[in-house]
Amino acid sequence: MTTSTPILEVRGIVKRYPGVTALGGVSLSIHSGEVVAVIGENGAGKSTLMKVLGGIVRPDEGEILHDGKPVQIDSVNRSVELGIGFIHQELNPLDNLDVAGNVFLGREPSKWGLIDYRKMHADTARLLEQLALPISVDTPLTRLSLAQRQMVEIAKALSLNARVLIMDEPTSSLTLSETARLLQVVRDLREKGVGVVYISHRLGEVTEVADRVVALKDGQNAGALARDEIDHDRMVRLMVGRDLERMTLPSYGTSGDVRLSVQGLRTNRYPSKEVSFEVRAGEIFCLAGLVGAGRSEVVQTIFGADPALNGVISIDGAPVRSGNLREAIAAGIGLVPEDRREVGLLVDWNIRENMTLPNLRDFSSKGLVQRGAEEVAAAAQSKALAVKSPSTQVRCANLSGGNQQKVVLGKWLLSKPKLLILDEPTRGVDVGAKAEIYEIMRRLTNEGVAVLMVSSDMEEVLGVSDRIGVMHEGSLSGTLTRAEATEEKIMRLAVGRNDE
């Protein structure tokens, strides 16, 4: 164990919000050249603690020591001065700037107040190369997928040359190979003596990279694990307070009738490629692939959010008009999108209002909303999903990431779809909740619903799907049943090698 003075140490941090104590006296220390993983259920207070270090949230009580000396971190700038870099859980990249502009935002290299574009571009290019991100530095952000944006955010944090780097769920929308690359970056940083705080709900990664694990529960320290104590079950026990079984679902043997059929679908993103597949009632079909393979594009097109260039989408044999969301919804399709803050939720609205939005008419009579009925349904749904919040009147912006995800899910469950599309359904969701979500998926399929899932989490892909379609650059490079599937096979297909 390290005995030197930690670079950063917090003691007894308390942060209260109306009705919630997000942090109830948490302590944490970070040493040079160490990767500390902070784990905990959704809403445990991980992000809040990090925001305290980042100068975004001011604690009500507690002290912060920097190199052993007490400091106040009252602004983002102060935090940066202290050598703290931060990758936020909920990304807020500026889509009116390009990649380099985002990476160096707030710290543009300059001469006489004018931006030194040459240096900025060169430095950005270097970082992108380090992350093996094949995009050019002047790509407008609007043209990047969520995952690519996350990589840009990581590049930004790296450019800080921080002494302490906080990564709040950096891999939540990354696939295996990007994750592997990121973990390599983390190891390199550790070599260089950087202290890294690593927050993730993917416990596999944590096992791989962490030197120490600190668990939070309900805003309190719930225990710690040293390097050689770290394993999946111990972590789960610290977080949840009891044992949980591994999250795999029994594969569903028999399949029902074809629920969704996609024939010759061409999307805007990959206009020259066609995709065809079917999902049966009672089946969980998963689209796997690398970042940017076009999975989200395909499911958004099925949902009608984007128009298809070509192809036929039908539900129970009846074709659905392309590019028309409402018709898709009327045909029984629901989508839990990957970008929950932008399109999944109205983050300023409360849980009740969000959950009932798609099918408000079911809670209304003569065009007028029956608030009572609405409340009953929303409350029941949040209870069923174990959303952690005092009531359904809480603004979704004030919920932790995982709980927000449950609200989006609840919103579509309330509208009883025939085909539920889940794009990264457990992004940022804790182990306990993941298990619950998988249960729900299985319950749905047992009721005859078809589930189409996009996932970048290999454990999830292998543990939950009945069949797996792997995409590579806009086309399906292969389909595997659960029994056939292995990590290697999926990866081979994902990079476009189909050598059966």
Partner: protein
């Protein structure tokens, strides 16, 4: 929701204080006659301010109402006094035209995806020009003309002691209040105004919802336009309704509608309208020189909003700590 109620309390208190101060200095301020006069104006302005507010809740803006008043007013006067149309027909035509113009804005904004500011700015310019052209730059009015006295009486008269514009405003507020705050349409409107993409992903027909506010705005502008025309009794195409779009927007914003969309209430818009009219009225009753009228209105609004904000922030702080 709580935020909204608090917002409205602030402006309500400001209003009460202003009225008390003025009434103390000049009791005639509260005379029946003045209440009738002022409430008539509140009726006229309130009707189109509600339209302005609805559009603002969608995150849009409507700059065209002032010019629409000129165009509709000129046409109404010409149809009635020069072409001698039947009052029913003329009114129906004005209402239809107002609604059609609103629908046209809705089409450009939601279907062709033009910016509301540009579309309605062009409306502001175009309708004003058309009004002047059609009227050949002459003032049109209802002067000594005949055949529509009962319509005129209706528009300028009273019902149960309430001036007709107030009666109409009450009806409009009631309907729009229920629609906005209780109906599915209203909920969808707030959703589309707050985050159009997210609303669309929830299956809301954002085109129809957002578009509908411009249509309603056009219809309400037509009603207000008719009442204002009969109130002034004459319509100078170049000046009639100038700046009214700003009054409507100001009433809505004062009443808590956010220009970023997704926020606002009918009660708030009404209070905003009342505040603006009371301020105008009070300048005269307090013997403030005409030249200072605007300065007083500007200063009171600023101080009022500031005080309101400070108070409510304090209250919020007290709640959290």
């Amino acid at each position: 929701m709580k935020g909204l109620i608090r917002k409205e309390t602030g402006i309500f208190v400001l209003l009460v204080v202003l009225c008390l101060v003025t009434a103390l200095k000049e009791p005639r301020f509260l005379s029946a006659q003045n209440l009738v006069n002022t409430s008539r104006l509140i009726g006229l302005y309130g009707i189109f301010s509600i339209g302005a507010g609805l559009v603002i809740i969608t995150g849009g803006i409507d700059l065209s109402v002032g010019s629409m008043f000129a165009l509709l007013g000129v046409l109404l006067a010409m149809w009635l006094s020069e072409k001698h149309w039947s009052p029913m027909l003329a009114i129906a035509a004005v209402l239809a035209l107002g609604t059609a113009l609103g629908t046209f804005h809705a089409f450009l904004i939601t279907k062709l995806r033009m910016q509301p500011f540009i579309v309605t700015l062009c409306g502001l310019l175009f309708y004003r020009g058309m009004a002047r052209f059609i009227a050949n730059d002459e003032t049109k009015g209802f002067g000594g003309a005949q055949g529509f006295e009962s319509l005129q009486k209706f528009a300028t008269g009273s019902l149960f002691g309430l001036p007709m514009p107030v009666v109409i405003l009450l009806v409009v507020s009631l309907i729009m209040g229920v629609l906005l705050h209780r109906s599915v349409w209203g909920r969808h409107l707030f959703a589309a105004g707050r985050n159009e993409e997210a609303a669309r992903y929830s299956g809301i027909n954002t085109v129809r919802v957002i578009g509908s506010t411009y249509v309603i705005g056009g219809f309400l502008a037509a009603i207000a336009g008719i009442l204002i025309a009969f109130y002034t009794n004459s319509i100078s195409p170049s000046g009639h309704g100038n700046f009214y779009e700003l009054y409507g927007i100001a009433a809505a914003v004062l009443g808590g509608c956010s220009l970023r969309g997704g926020e606002g209430s009918i009660v708030g818009i009404l209070l905003g309208t009342i505040l603006l009219q009371v301020l105008r009225n009070l300048v005269i009753f307090l013997n403030i020189p005409s030249s200072l009228e605007f300065a007083v209105i500007g200063a009171v609004i600023l101080i009022g909003v500031l005080a309101d904000q400070t108070l409510s922030r304090r209250a919020a702080l007290r709640r959290t700590t």
